[in-house]
Every structure is written in C-alpha cells, then in structure tokens.
Symmetry: C2
Amino acid sequence: MSLVIVGTVAFDAIETPFGKTDKILGGAATFISMAAAKLYDQVKVISVIGGDFPDEYITLLNDQGVQTEGIKKIPEGKTFFWSGKYHIDMNTRDTLITELNVLADFDPQVPASYNDCTYLMLGNLTPSIQKKVINQLPVRPKLIVMDTMNFWMNTAMDDLKDVLTMVDVLTINDEEARQLSNEYSLVKAARKILSMGPKFLIIKKGDHGALLFHEDKVFFAPAMPLEEVFDPTGAGDTFAGGFIGFLAKTDDISFDNMKRAIIFGSAMASFAVEKFGTEALQELKNGTLYNRVQQFLSLVKFDIILSE
Amino acid sequence: MSLVIVGTVAFDAIETPFGKTDKILGGAATFISMAAAKLYDQVKVISVIGGDFPDEYITLLNDQGVQTEGIKKIPEGKTFFWSGKYHIDMNTRDTLITELNVLADFDPQVPASYNDCTYLMLGNLTPSIQKKVINQLPVRPKLIVMDTMNFWMNTAMDDLKDVLTMVDVLTINDEEARQLSNEYSLVKAARKILSMGPKFLIIKKGDHGALLFHEDKVFFAPAMPLEEVFDPTGAGDTFAGGFIGFLAKTDDISFDNMKRAIIFGSAMASFAVEKFGTEALQELKNGTLYNRVQQFLSLVKFDIILSE
C-alpha cells in the first residue's frame, strides 16, 4: 500500500513584500509529498527534472521520507522554473517567468515499485499527463485526488473533462470552480461539478478557508487567522498533501474522515506560508502540527442548546 | 430591561442582477431591530423620519415586536434615502443616490421609556450622534455594541476613536478593520483595535464569514453557502441584530455566549439576503431560524482524536 504523487519538482524564485529568493526548491509534487510524508510513510513521487537539479534536493526529499525512484532525470535538460511576485494582499500574484523546460516533453513512467499504489494524487499538470498515469497503474487506486487550474480550462478543457470522469476528489479554488461550472454561486457550481465525475469536491478559498461538497452535504474548514503570511507559494499543494497524507495514514475515505483530512491539510498549509518555499515544512514536527489542529478545533467550536 | 437600537430608518431603492425595487423600507435600525425582535421582546428604536414615511411601515415594525416611541417624525422633512446597484459578484456595489434629508440634522432624544436600556446597539451613524445617545442614558448599559464604516474613518476619525473608548463590542468589515488599524493582517489589526477601547471585535467578511476577537482568543463563524444571494442590503445589520438580540434574550455576555450570538446573527443574515429588503425577515419564523442554526453546527462540525 502506498501513496503516489504526480506533479512538478521544480525551481521557484519568489518575490513578496517581505523579501525575495533566488532559485529555490519548489513544485507541486515537492510540497504535496513533503506534507503527506509528515503523516504517512509510503509516499512516492513521479516527476521529471533536468541535469541542473542538485542531488542535495533529492536527498532532502528522501530525508523527509519521500521516495523518489519515479523522478526521472533528463541530464541534458533543464528543470521547470517558475518565478512570481506577490502583491501586498498576498492573494494575487504576477507570474514573471515560466520555463517549462523538461516538463514540455514529460512522459510519466510509473516504476514497478509504485504498483502498490492505493492512493493517487494528481498534482496540477497537463490533464493528458494525469490521465497517462492513471492508465499505467495495474490496479485502480482506492482513491484518486486531482488538482488542476484555470490554465487547463482555457487550453485543454476536453482533456480536463475526460480526466474528471476518472477521479474521486477534485480540488480547485473558488474562481476555478466558477469557471468550470459557469455558475457564480459555489453551491450551484459544486452541484454541476459533482455531476462531471468526482464524488467529492474541495473548493479552496485561500485565507477564507475551504469547502468540501459530497452529495447533498457540505463541510466548511476555516483558514487559521495568521499574524503574518510570508510566502503563499505552495499553500494549496501543502493543503492537498496534508489532506491525502491523512487519508492514506488512516485508510478511511468516509465523508467524516475527509473532514478531518481537510483540517490536517489546512493546518499544514498554515505553517507552509510562514516561511519561504518548503522551509517551514522541512522543520515541521508532528507535535507542532497536532497543536495547530487543536487550534482549529477551538477556532470553530461552539455549543448551542436550541430551545425557543 | 430592554435593548435600544439607534440607527437609520430609511427608504432604499435597490438594483441587483436579479431585479430592482422602487423605494422600499430600509435603514440600519430597521434591519437590526427586526432581526433582534425575532429573539427578544423588548426592542426599542431611536431614529428620525420625514413626513413622507408611511404609517404602515411603523405599524409593520410594531407588528414585528419593535417599539418605536423613539422614532421622531419631522413632518416638513424627507426620510433618508439610499439607492444602490450591486455588481454580479454581489460583494461590490455602487451607491447611486444618498439623500441625507432629515438625517442631516438628527439630534437623537432618548425617551424616558427607554431608560431601562441594558443592551445598546449603535447602528452605523455619525460617531458624534452615537456618543450623544450613550451620554443621555442615565445608567451605563451592560453592553454597548457599535457598528461603523469607512466613511466615518475618512471624515470623522477623531470622533470615531472617541466613541470607540466608550463601547464594548465593535463590528466592522475586513477592509474597515485594515483601514482603522493600518495593518493588513487581521490578527494584527484586531490586536490594535482591541487596544483602542472595545473588549470584543467582530470582523465581518461577508460571504466568507465572521471573526470574533477577545483578548488572545479568536472564534470563526462561517457564512452559510447559499444557492442564491438575491439582495445583500442589510445583511450586516441583520447579523448585528441577531447577535445583540440573542445576547439580550440570554442576558449572558461571556465569550462562549458571544460565539452562539454570532451564529444566530449569521443564520439571520443568511435569510435576509434571500429576498429584497426586509421581506425575508418579515416572514421568518423561529422554527426556520433554529433549523438554520442547526445547519451551521453541521457545517463546521468535525471530531478529531489526536494520536501520533
């Protein structure tokens, strides 16, 4: 039994009102796998990197408990590179540079050692690549979670809709939910998207929390109000990693357990934004994480005895 | 013992993507008092209206359980009139018309029958008028809740800061909290505002819910995800009315009870936006309200047993 994560392993260069970085370790699969590995011990990544990717980053991932046999190195190629600059509200950013590099010809290969995959997380990537991974697995995983973004809705909607029919959980943000469904109300949007394939829909609202929809049920998880948001890069991926890591660890995909998983994802994300890149995640200890989860419980807890 | 509400009783003309109204009943004190009267039976309003204000609106308020002795009629004057148009996202609006009319010279008089005031709600108004009401009360109320807006921060900040030192609870929205504190982070903003006078701060985030800050504690109440938002006018006032109505009814101003009060306020507001103006509030029955409160409980409820 294992959790397989497909996505980018990349370089990021980030500028925020609080500072800027050179090229540092980034990428969806990096954040997802590091977050998941805090909770679950069989985390395996599928990705592609270039000859410029330092061995020490692979060692770092391994030290964090992430298995990297499925990360293919193209010695003559360059690693995917993204650079962005955040505005003062930290909710909006400008992309400065996107160099696809080795990602442009990424043809994912699932190693035989990944065939025990029971949980599959498809990080934000070209939908056709996400589909290739699903199709290579000898046994359909117990749960497939998919992340995507508006870029694929604009450029590959048919492929995206095709993959949607193959997955169990979709995670997107509120604007993307509106775009995908053509509905402004998130309740209506959710109903439409749940009819496109996924049985569960998570709508991420950044620092306004996240909504989980399933059948006629809805659950809301707040984001932790923070003193300071230092770098939001990877927050959504960290959330997804905490979510699926918790599900894999507990091996329970009921609605009630998904609620808990979302709280763990939210707690994990609340740390990720406190430092640049993966720094906060690297340092995160389970005790600290569990304290934060406890804070989430206090944040929303109230009791009401209803009598007129 | 009674709950006294100071604020506008007015005409609104509203345009939304779903339709438009002629001049209908509106105003902060109208929404606050109608919401509060759903929960508490001694609700008394202080306001001013013109000769054009129909008696049937006063009868409507009375029928809803609102006492109106403190609403002064200026026969030769015209009632305050506001007209606005909402954008498709329903979170932003343009003000089309603001006619202050009788509000321009409003000199509030607290009737002797209001001297039993134990809960005082200062609806959004000129800070100096809010202060006049506090100073006229023979006994300092058990709890004073104050609403305000960015307009007064721009035009009467000194007066506003003066009234802040006299109140227990301040309700403002997130942008206003940032403006008042000069802090982007709501956690930092809350700390600063709590040092300006109020012991409790409620930051309203519209359809993203509300935060309650007190000392080092924080509570988050979500907004109910709705199929359709028809008219957001008065949602914040309805929230405030449900909040203070619940506190007056239960006569308990502990932090834990304020959490419950916020849930009641949120539930009340979730109805208000479903129809134009006060229509939904007029029709609202307690049973329906209590069902909605129950839905809030389900919306955020999760259980976690923490073990590593």
